[in-house]
Amino acid sequence: MKSQIPEPGIFLARAGERPLPGPDFAALARAVLDKGASFRFKATGFSMFPFIRNGDVVTVSPLAGNPPRLGDVVAFVTSGQQKLMVHRVIRIMGDSFLIKGDNRYSADGLSPKASILGRVTRVERGKKAVFSGIGPERALIVLLSRRGVVLTLLLPVWRIVRPVMRRWIA
């Protein structure tokens, strides 16, 4: 016996902004990166302030066989809740990586290589790419982060140092 068409009308639509459950979001990111494509999404939270802010749009690119380096900001899946998080590598211990948010006092713990899906290659704010601590300056950031320095507290200093570093990098 035939039934009514379930939902006539527009079949394909933009999904719009919607929070996705943690494990599903992580699985979606993994599926995209496993195909060799980059994954672009809006970041939430303050754990990477000031380099990545709540609402910034982050692009994560596949590792492509190149293991994470010291200072890389990586997207990884947490072991407990299976959520996708974006924090910085502050120490490498064999095949494990000590990862920490720039705006946190303590590290997330050791993460195995398999849990790291990709590295951040671009951060956008207001549709423009912003300086995000993923260039040569990451060595200094790692040094400070290892010593438990929460970078937000250094913001006034950073505002003076940043233009100097930009000229140095250029």
Binding site: S3, G9, F11, L12, A13, P21, L28, K35, S38, K42
Partner: protein, 103 residues
């Protein structure tokens, strides 16, 4: 130039697309220019769209997809054909679907 949709052709999901069922909804991310952009380019199919997407699995030509839908649903075959062609056009335009062969 847009390709003409042929009822004797078989269409299937592109390799440059990721689809996942999340909370009962099918979400599709086209991988345009090597980027899966869920900030600006995340799509969803409604119930009917999802049924058509699942039938467009790369096994049946469009004529057979229309026939199967006509067998299941109370709607004129012309209307069903128009809806299927419309969705296929949209999916082809966004790189989510490709023509696999014509029979």
């Amino acid at each position: 130039m847009e390709a003409k949709i042929r009822l004797d052709a078989i269409y299937g999901p592109s390799e440059d697309v990721v689809s996942r069922e999340i909370e009962g909804e099918l979400l599709i991310v086209p991988l345009a220019a090597g980027v899966g952009d869920i900030e600006d380019e995340l799509f969803t199919l409604n119930k009917t769209g999802r049924i058509i997407w699942e039938l467009l699995g790369g096994q049946k030509n469009l004529k057979n997809v229309v026939a199967e839908l006509f067998a299941r649903f109370e709607a004129p075959v012309g209307e069903i054909e128009e809806d299927v062609i419309g969705l296929v056009e949209e999916l082809l335009k966004r790189g989510m679907l490709v023509e696999i062969s014509n029979t």
